[in-house]
Symmetry: C3
Subunit: 215 residues, 3 copies
Amino acid sequence: MSEENSPPRRFTGHLLFVLDLTGTFVFAIEGALAAMRGDLDFFGLMVLAFITALGGGIIRDLLIGAVPPASLQDWRYGAIALAGGAAVFFFHRLLLVVPTQLIMLLDAGGLALFAVAGAGKALSFKMHPFIAVLMGGITGVGGGTVRDVLLMQVPTVLRADVYATAALAGAAVMVVGMRLNRSPQAMAVLGALVCFTLRVVSVWLHWNLPKVMGQ
Amino acid sequence: MSEENSPPRRFTGHLLFVLDLTGTFVFAIEGALAAMRGDLDFFGLMVLAFITALGGGIIRDLLIGAVPPASLQDWRYGAIALAGGAAVFFFHRLLLVVPTQLIMLLDAGGLALFAVAGAGKALSFKMHPFIAVLMGGITGVGGGTVRDVLLMQVPTVLRADVYATAALAGAAVMVVGMRLNRSPQAMAVLGALVCFTLRVVSVWLHWNLPKVMGQ
Amino acid sequence: MSEENSPPRRFTGHLLFVLDLTGTFVFAIEGALAAMRGDLDFFGLMVLAFITALGGGIIRDLLIGAVPPASLQDWRYGAIALAGGAAVFFFHRLLLVVPTQLIMLLDAGGLALFAVAGAGKALSFKMHPFIAVLMGGITGVGGGTVRDVLLMQVPTVLRADVYATAALAGAAVMVVGMRLNRSPQAMAVLGALVCFTLRVVSVWLHWNLPKVMGQ
């Protein structure tokens, strides 16, 4: 991995790298489950696992000019994503035992990590703060959006509840904190907590964003 | 904004920059209206406004190697796009008063500006003239195409009447003129006029491109 | 065309360049036929021909950082793709005479060439071997995937039989051979043969990949 592409990795450190791979694994499992519901074969399932897990980061990297994207330079990302897909293919019965609540919590965790890491990487590539927040959001929801398009569904994220909004909020905390010269580690933790909490609370309280009134 | 990315801005000058932002605003409004019809929430509406307005230019910049894309470097583009989305969200009743004919004229104007600016930028990045015309077309119709895909509709532009064709014609005028060493300003105006006129006349006369015969 | 982007061309040599353009032409014809079935007009048909033929290579080039993509730098690719589209538009009756079996063979040939050339180019851009195989697959199936999305169909490649798998197998042969320092030419031929044979045999024997069991 080139020095140019590595700052976000360095600042997040070893613990966050492990958490990042955990998020990748969780997103891959969700992609593979969507593929199963869409009646795809083994190959389609692996593709959707890969794209759901890594698509958001790849789109962000293309947009900020970090090519080749980090997840195509470090084979461990792809390997973890495909491992998530394979886990669903071979052990999907076991997954039925995992409580939905736990999957939702893991997903919120992945979203939070991706949003914060994406915003941090965009800042380290000298993007405007406004754009860095956007890049945090794209990192969090991009993979799921491409997955939905490939399965011919209007992307859930355009339609449903507080999901992308939570990612943007977490990314905004990160970006504002960095502009105020706070510790990146502390702001990453705070941003991730904001995103995670917002997401989880919105699910429990059935929050939704308003639509255009009078429709 | 880097020098590398700025030539098209410089050659279009201040007036065209204002017109460019106007085109962005109009396209954002159209994206937000499509989101309203698709029953999306506030976030989805803002995303579609952003993508419809800026998607074509972003795709062009990725393809010609102008990364990060200009509209992600200058925050005013994103701000204008989101302002267009917000205008629809909060004042959509007022928009019902705006005559459809006026929206069509503004849209044709935006298309014309985007096509000419896109072709000019591609030329300034040393693309082959044939490709520069294509890039003009993509700048004009790319955003609407991504919007349609996200709303699960076959892109209008693949289906309907003289729209992309007008963009390509305007871009071609620009490219041919520049190859003949004519003044960029003059050729930009001429190209935009050709695109605008072709589009407006085709709507009024209900022109359509032929389909494969005997179908 | 810059030196930077040309290694794959050089190593494949003149014969493979001709075959590459042949693959482009065949894929363009298939894209145009899909457009005809989707009831698109002349412009939509040309767009689908272009995207089906060149989309996979363009996505690969964006991902490995080879911007602008090779097919946008050398006008002959675009010209061949549009010629394929025009051939369908004007002579589609003649195409009805071409046996389906022949089209399938030509398509398998195009897939094999794209997979091997894509993997080779990714290697020459210093991508990880694992990623190079993936890039071979994307080169082969990317264009068809975008075509299907634009026509609002779940991409065939996610759904059906041994197609992408054949591309990945051919790309893997190429990548493993290059890592073992075998002659690029020989490994390209061997990889292409593996992909072609796998694809053709799978069609004749109606092979399919397994789905998740118990569904």
